[in-house]
Structure formats: C-alpha cells, structure tokens
Symmetry: C2
DNA sequence: TATTGTTATACTCTATAACTATA
DNA sequence: TATAGTTATAGAGTATAACAATA
C-alpha cells in the first residue's frame, strides 16, 4: 500500500477505477464486437461510416463527405475506390461544378448497410448484456449527451477509427 | 428522441443516433482532452498506463507488465527505454530469475504520475461538463459496469491506445 | 489564385521473426 | 527445449506535398 496522495486522488485505482480506463475498455470492446460486423465491408468501419453518411440527404462531394466522417480527403479517394469497386457507391460529376464529384450509395450499398446495421445492433446488445433495459437506455442517453457536447465544442473528432 | 429501430432500418439515423457513434465520439473526445494531459509523458498514453500499473503492487517483470496493459513485449522494451531515460522508472535484474528484469517506478515517476492524474481529472470534468453531478456519477457507474463485463468476458482489449 | 480530386513520397506504428542469455 | 528481453526487418496506415483540372 505504498501510496502517495497529493490531495484528492483516488486511493489506488490500480487500473480499474477511472473514467478514462472505462472509456478505453468500452471503446475497445465495442470496436471488437463491431469489427466483426463490418469485417466484410470494404474499408471496414470507415466504409460503414461513409455508407451511413450517404444513406440520407443530398449526394455530397468527396470533400464534404470526408469532412462529415472526419477523414482526410486522400483517404477518401482510396476508400471510395474500394467501395465503388464493390458497387456499393457510385461517383458522378457534379453538373454544377466540374471539379467535384457527387457520391451516391447504390441499392446494393443500402442493402449491405442494412445488414451491417442489424449486425451492429446485435453487437451492441451483447455489449450491454449486463444492463437492464432502463440502465441501457440511460447509458445511451448520457453517452449521446456527452457526445453532442464534445462534438459541439469540437473537443472531439479528428481521428476516425471505430 | 433517438430510438433504435431494429427492423425498419430505412428510418435514417443519419450519424447522430446510434450507440457506436456516441462511443466513438466520446472516446475520441476523451482521447483528445487526455492527449494534452499525457503529452509531455514519454510514450504518451502508454507511458501513463505503465506508470499506473507500476504505482502499486510488486515490481513486475517486463512481460507481466506488458500483459497487464495489453502491449506487445517488443513495444514494452522501447517504452521502458524511453521512460527510464527520463528517470521515471528503473530496471533491475530479478534476483530469482536472471533472465527477467523488475520494473520499478521512481519517485520522479510517482510525482509525474500524480501531475498527470490531476490533469486527467480536470480533463474528465471538462468532458462531462454538461452533466450534473448525479448524471455524471451514473455515467461512470454504467461505463464501469460495461467495462467490467467486457473485460471479464474478454470481449475486450488487445488494442492499447488511449 | 483557390479548390476538388488524385497520385507519389515519407514517416510512424505495429507485428514478426531472429538473436542472447538464462532456465 | 522453453522463456525474458532485445534488436532488426517488413508491412500497414497515415500524413504531406505535389499535381491536373476547374473555378
């Protein structure tokens, strides 16, 4: 029990007590269960994010898309090449700006996205298996609130791994 | 509000509704605020994890330490080289097994660890700024429970980034 | 001159395997 | 023969910058 307590530090958290560690573990656990769900998808987690972003709204340019999912535009090129090769998305020139290309999700892409979403839902359920329905809902709510705060204050993203 | 719909997928959560995205954002946000806290630390987040692991219990071997924080033993070599160069840890031969080396945290290391912990506490507070005390406590509790589940079922770690 | 998308290059990680010294 | 630690090498992933086409 050789502890140095400068002021209000937790006595000896070892590794299991603090929020950062919990976030780390939960994030890693979710990534793990989610990885299986997106494994067959070109680009993995990133491919999923792109498909989600494309599933609604107007077809964005590659740059707009890259910004939305917090990816570099050079990465977006490779990623879309891959997705397009598998016919999950298509690219077409923007009639109003011939520099830009509009990205669209295909029907195949939508079908694939739905599959992955189902799989992810199951994965989430597995992750939260120990919580009753009320606690699970509470956790979702709280996480969403923190996430929104983080996003709003742009404390947040820039690194995009799932 | 944002509700999961397992069957009617075409609803369109965009990107802001699902648990995975929230976890992703929160994790990224935490990593971001935490990165500043551990920036000066040799090895960054990993250096922190190692110091925490060393701050209690018997001095472990490098291998045991590597397993505890889910790092490869080859990575541990570099990391400890770095930490030792900054005099935050020391290595000494294990008298009972001359192949192994015991790793110890130094007083400098402990002082540094306390600084980082304070900084991290502040970072956490910033992250949870929008939650009142009760909600924050609830979130910590729920996350810890999920983390423990994940760890126990070893759904979890293997990737060690903060 | 600035912007979209692409390509090429370099750099950082990580994983793998090989090597030593002990057991 | 197996294990703890180190070192070297190769591969993946990422970022940076340069480039062509268009605005």
């Amino acid at each position: 029990m050789s502890e140095k307590k400068p002021s209000g530090e937790s006595a000896d958290p070892g590794l299991g007590a603090d929020l950062g560690w919990a976030i780390r573990l939960v994030s890693a656990a979710f990534r793990r269960v989610a990885t299986d769900s997106v494994a067959e998808l070109p680009g993995g987690a990133r491919g999923y994010l792109v498909l989600v972003a494309l599933s609604s709204g107007e077809p964005p340019s590659q740059l707009a898309l890259a910004r939305e999912v917090s990816l570099d535009r050079t990465v977006m090129t490779y990623l879309l090449d891959d997705l397009e090769a598998h016919e999950l998305v298509t690219r077409r020139p923007d009639p109003r700006d011939r520099r830009a290309r509009q990205v669209l999700i295909t029907d195949t892409g939508r079908a694939r996205l739905d599959q992955v979403r189902h799989s992810l839902t199951a994965a989430e359920a597995r992750l939260l298996a120990d919580l009753d329905e009320q606690d699970a809902a509470q956790l979702r709510t709280l996480l969403s609130r923190v996430a929104q705060t983080a996003q709003r204050e742009s404390i947040a993203p820039d690194e995009a791994d799932c």
